[in-house]
């Protein structure tokens, strides 16, 4: 399709804006061009954080001589076939990138189209366009940007250090690489070791392989697949088990129709879906790919196209939450391998057993500094006992009873127990941990965390089943709020009533709280309503109320559960294991810690050098 000048109307519709903000945005534009040109292999080379040089080489379709001449003109593009901004299928469409880059840097494009006898090259130097000249290139396109912003010194001053800019380039590339696993990328530069992401198979396995390459193999091992379809909306991708989290939500990636975007919709949906598993300040890793009719999403919000607008954001959010919840339920009983592998590495054989009294200094037998015996570490029991608090004297009275209850378990008569996912309970250690044997390994269960989760799930199921009993207020509480907040709250009044909170509008600028959940007792309705209104403005759900109810449930669960330090009978241990198998989400406690870890026999054999 030939490059042609867009009509005036379309040019005006495309809001003008700055496309080129920093080297990373140049890389993004050029790589997106390469992807739109159907490349299967893209190489990116940067120097000086992209300030001195950016070179993007692809094996895509290339351009003819005439196209090349027009491509560097403003608002010239091959990508908007029928001037229809509503059905955008390419990453680019504005026709702004090349001329914008050409205006502020030394741009050289060399390209070979299949119909041309040889390659052509053109260069633009601070907006000065050269003639199209013949050049040598076998196929595809190579775009070279030198001395970015040399024509606009003011902009140059705003660039951060080379390192920071290089990191931004890397981040852009990570997102693009995740979006297109079937394309091979090579990212090289003076500041880094070349990174190559080999082309992966199409479909889910390839995507997981690429995500593992980009986010780390830990993610690959601890991710659950998401795949859900509602009408024309499809959500795919991978989300981490609740045991693999970060302190911020930067590890959450959203792609809409193959385009990496940043949208707080994702953070909100992830928070909602993981609310049961994680404390507020932990964020799971996730990469979520949304595919929907291009008419239902507006990508022309921002020149850099990192933001999108959905026609029905509520639906997209709800489907993402549903997809995540389903995936988590599926993966819930998969014990985190992070726990397992951490256990294995903690069990590495020591050359000699550490002598208990070597309190401080150099670690025994390790031949190097051992942080475990550093004085900065809290004193261990032996060192503490000698600290003069008379524990040493009292230890005389310690009968030294066995710390592990290894009485043979009567359940040996039921050998099929070892075929269950969590196996047959064999012993209880330190009155806290249950050790169970499975067919191909062993499982260690934290009895308190596990039981707490079971009780919590039971309470939650009961709340869902029976609803929440509501206390009608003698004196309704009138809470003054913004009109917009009231509208939002009243629109969701039905959902709130399900959780026991009944509200109704009360004149302009206020709502009346008529009934409250009786299990919360006397509540600060003002604050609850404000929290709800604020939360709804941002996330469009009633999470604060749900969270409060669940907090009460969780507190009750904590009181009502078997504590660490209680000796369990073999029957009790097995019953706990069986109930964990039957309960969804029993793999993590209410705070996102694992309730059990699993060690495969192969891991254990490795420890002893049998493999």
């Amino acid at each position: 399709m030939p490059v042609r000048q867009l009509t005036e109307a379309v040019v005006n519709r495309i809001a003008a804006g700055e496309v080129v903000e920093r080297p990373a945005s140049v890389v993004k534009e050029l790589v997106e061009n390469a992807l739109d040109a159907g490349a299967s292999r893209i190489e990116i080379l940067t120097d000086g954080g992209g300030r001195r040089l950016i070179r993007v080489t692809d094996d895509g379709a290339g351009m003819t001589r005439a196209d090349l001449d027009l491509a560097v003109e403003r608002h010239a593009t091959s990508k908007l076939a029928d001037d229809d901004l509503l059905t955008i299928r390419t990453l680019g469409f504005r026709g702004e990138a090349l001329p914008s880059i050409g205006a502020v840097a030394r741009l050289t494009i060399t390209t070979r189209h299949a119909d041309e006898p040889h390659a052509w090259t053109i260069s633009v130097d601070a907006g000065e366009k050269s003639r199209v000249k013949p050049a040598a290139l076998t196929r595809g396109t190579s775009v070279e940007v030198r001395d970015l912003f040399y024509a606009t010194p003011a902009r140059l001053k705003f660039l951060k250090s080379d390192r920071t800019e290089a990191e931004a380039v890397r981040d852009v590339m990570r997102r693009l690489a995740m979006a297109r696993p079937e394309i091979a990328f090579t990212l090289a530069g003076e500041e880094r070791m070349p990174v190559t992401w080999a082309a992966a198979l199409p479909g889910a396995p390839g995507r997981l392989a690429r995500l593992g390459d980009v986010l780390g193999s830990e993610f690959r091992a601890n991710a659950v697949e998401i795949d859900i379809e509602r009408d024309a909306l499809r959500i795919e991708g991978y989300a981490a088990l609740p045991t693999l989290t970060r302190a911020n939500s930067l590890g959450q990636y959203l792609f809409v129709n193959g385009r990496p975007v940043r949208d707080k919709l994702l953070a909100g949906a992830v928070r909602g879906a993981y609310a049961d598993y994680l404390p507020r300040d932990r964020h799971p890793l996730a990469a979520i790919f949304v595919t929907l009719d291009s008419r239902d999403v507006d990508v022309n919000v921002h020149p850099a196209k990192t933001e999108v607008r959905f026609r029905d954001a509520g639906l997209v959010r709800a489907v993402i939450v549903r997809a995540l919840q389903e995936a988590l339920l599926r993966g819930a009983r998969r014990s985190a391998t992070t726990g397992g592998s951490a256990t294995v590495s903690a069990l590495r054989p020591a050359p000699s057993l550490p002598s208990p009294a070597s309190g401080g200094g150099w670690g025994g037998g390790r031949g190097g500094w051992d942080w475990r015996s550093s004085p900065a570490r809290l004193p261990t029991s032996a060192a503490f006992a000698s600290a003069g608090l008379a524990e040493a004297a009292q230890s005389v009275f310690d009968t030294g009873g066995p710390q592990a209850d290894t009485r043979p378990v009567a359940a040996d008569s039921a050998p099929e127990l070892v075929d269950r996912p969590l196996g047959a309970a064999r012993a209880q250690l330190h009155d806290t941990y249950i050790v169970a044997q499975t067919r191909d390994g062993l499982v260690i269960v934290d009895q308190h965390a596990a039981h707490e989760r079971l009780v919590y799930e039971r309470l939650k199921a009961a709340l869902d089943r029976d609803g929440v009993a509501r206390q009608i207020l003698l004196i309704p509480e009138i809470v003054e709020l913004d009109e917009a907040d009231i509208e939002r709250l009243v629109a969701r009044a039905d959902a709130l009533a399900r959780y026991g909170l009944v509200i109704e509008p009360f004149g302009p600028g206020a709502v009346a709280v008529r009934e409250t959940p009786s299990m919360l007792g006397e509540i600060d309705a003002q604050r609850l309503m404000r929290d709800l209104a604020e939360h709804m403005a941002e996330w469009d759900d009633g999470l604060p109320l749900e969270r409060r109810l669940m907090h009460v449930a969780a507190t009750m669960a904590c009181y009502g559960s078997v504590r660490a330090g209680r000796r369990l009978k073999p029957e009790e241990m097995n019953a706990l294991l069986r109930e964990m198998e039957a309960t969804p989400n029993s793999g993590q406690c209410n705070h996102g810690r694992p309730t059990y870890v699993e060690l495969k026999l192969s891991d254990i054999e490795r420890l002893f050098g049998r493999r």
Partner: protein, 372 residues
């Protein structure tokens, strides 16, 4: 200062004042009790800036003076001294300590200067009247349970004392509510209280007043103004700030037109509610009342554990009705009723219910049902 005092006297008095002192304080001197010896009197004073308790007891004082020492520690010391001991409190002139001697025991406590001790300047009291201690105690006891603990609605964190007309007589009325239930008690307006403003007495204050009333036959002198109230109970004077707020128009929520009247034996009813609520869970304490002619069925269903029902004979001849209440609230109110028969006046499962003693109009309770 040197004071010699009987242990029992001092202990009783410290028992009165030390309770006002909060366990944790940001201002150090608030943890202290002020001791002032003057001629043959020993004055003890403690405050939390909102509430001040002063008590004067007989003692041998020579010479006089004053100082402050940690209240809870002094109380514990005196409590642990043997019965019948003579205690000598002696302040040294130049060092900031107080020596406590009794028998062979000797304690030295650090002091803070009495000049720093805050004074809850009472100002002018506009109204003065006396109440029988039993009456005051009743006003408090019958309403105290309904005081709100939710601090954001501070104006509900106390008992609302005000003048109300009952028929042609002016009454002194006490009302408390937490938004779920309401309690109202009244008695004839005592002389001197005419024209008094409506005041909200804080929860902590009413609790202390109630504890200080030991002799029900005594008289309590009450003085009040717009911002403060003072109770003189025997040798103890308690002065308190009032809650600066507007009590809601509670009269609107008292359902005087409820026509479905139920009469039940109070003791039976209370015991039955207590019994059936045994199966209720922590998160829902609802008890269902099913009324039909002459019969009341109380039932609790807990999907986790089971259910309970109990049938009572009642006087009731209106249409059948099912209504749910928080069992704890029902028990709280039943515990306040004095007569043998309780009267519940109901309208429908979503409207307030009025609960009273049969024939006794001086106290009434309003309870909002639960939706279950």
């Amino acid at each position: 200062m040197k004071v010699t005092v009987e242990r029992a006297e001092l202990l009783k008095s410290l028992g009165h004042v030390h309770r006002v002192v909060e366990r944790r304080n940001t201002i150090p001197i608030l943890a202290n009790v002020l001791i002032r010896g003057d001629r043959s009197k020993l004055e003890l004073k403690a405050t939390d800036l909102d509430l001040e308790v002063v008590e004067t007891i007989a003692a041998d004082v020579a010479p006089g003076g004053s100082t402050t020492v940690p209240a809870h520690m002094l109380y514990e010391i005196v409590r642990k001294l043997p019965e019948g001991a003579q205690i000598v409190l002696e302040g040294s002139g130049d060092r900031a300590v107080l020596t406590i001697r009794a028998g062979r025991s000797r304690f030295t406590l650090q002091t803070l200067p009495d000049s720093d001790f805050p004074d809850l300047a009472a100002g002018d009291m506009t109204h003065k009247f006396t109440l029988a201690a039993a009456d005051l105690k009743r006003l408090i006891e019958k309403t105290q349970f309904a005081i709100s603990t939710e601090e954001t609605r501070y104006y509900l964190n106390g008992i609302y004392l005000h003048i109300a007309a009952s028929g042609n007589t002016a009454m002194l009325r006490a009302v408390a509510t937490d938004g779920h239930r309401l309690a109202q008690v009244e008695l004839p307006l005592p002389a001197g209280a005419e024209g008094m403003p409506g005041i909200i007495v804080p929860r902590k204050t009413v609790g202390e007043v109630q504890r200080l009333i030991e002799d029900a036959d005594a008289e309590v002198a009450v003085e009040l103004s717009q911002g403060k109230i003072r109770f003189a109970i025997g040798a103890v004077t308690l002065t308190s700030k009032l809650i600066d707020g507007t009590f809601p128009d509670y009269a609107r929520v008292i359902p005087l037109g409820n026509d479905k009247e139920l009469v039940v034996d109070k003791a039976e009813f209370e015991a039955a509610v207590d019994r059936v609520s045994t199966v209720s869970s922590e998160r829902g304490r609802a008890v269902k009342l099913s009324l039909s002619a002459g019969r009341l069925v109380l039932s609790v269903t807990n999907p986790d554990s089971g259910s309970a029902t109990e049938e009572l004979e009642i006087e009731y001849d209106a249409d059948p009705l099912d209504i749910g209440f928080n069992s704890r609230y029902l028990l709280d109110i039943a515990g306040q009723l004095e007569g043998e028969a309780a009267v519940l006046k109901l309208a429908d499962p979503g409207s307030p219910t009025l609960i009273q003693d049969r024939g006794g109009a001086s106290a009434l309770y309003v309870l909002m049902p639960m939706r279950v």
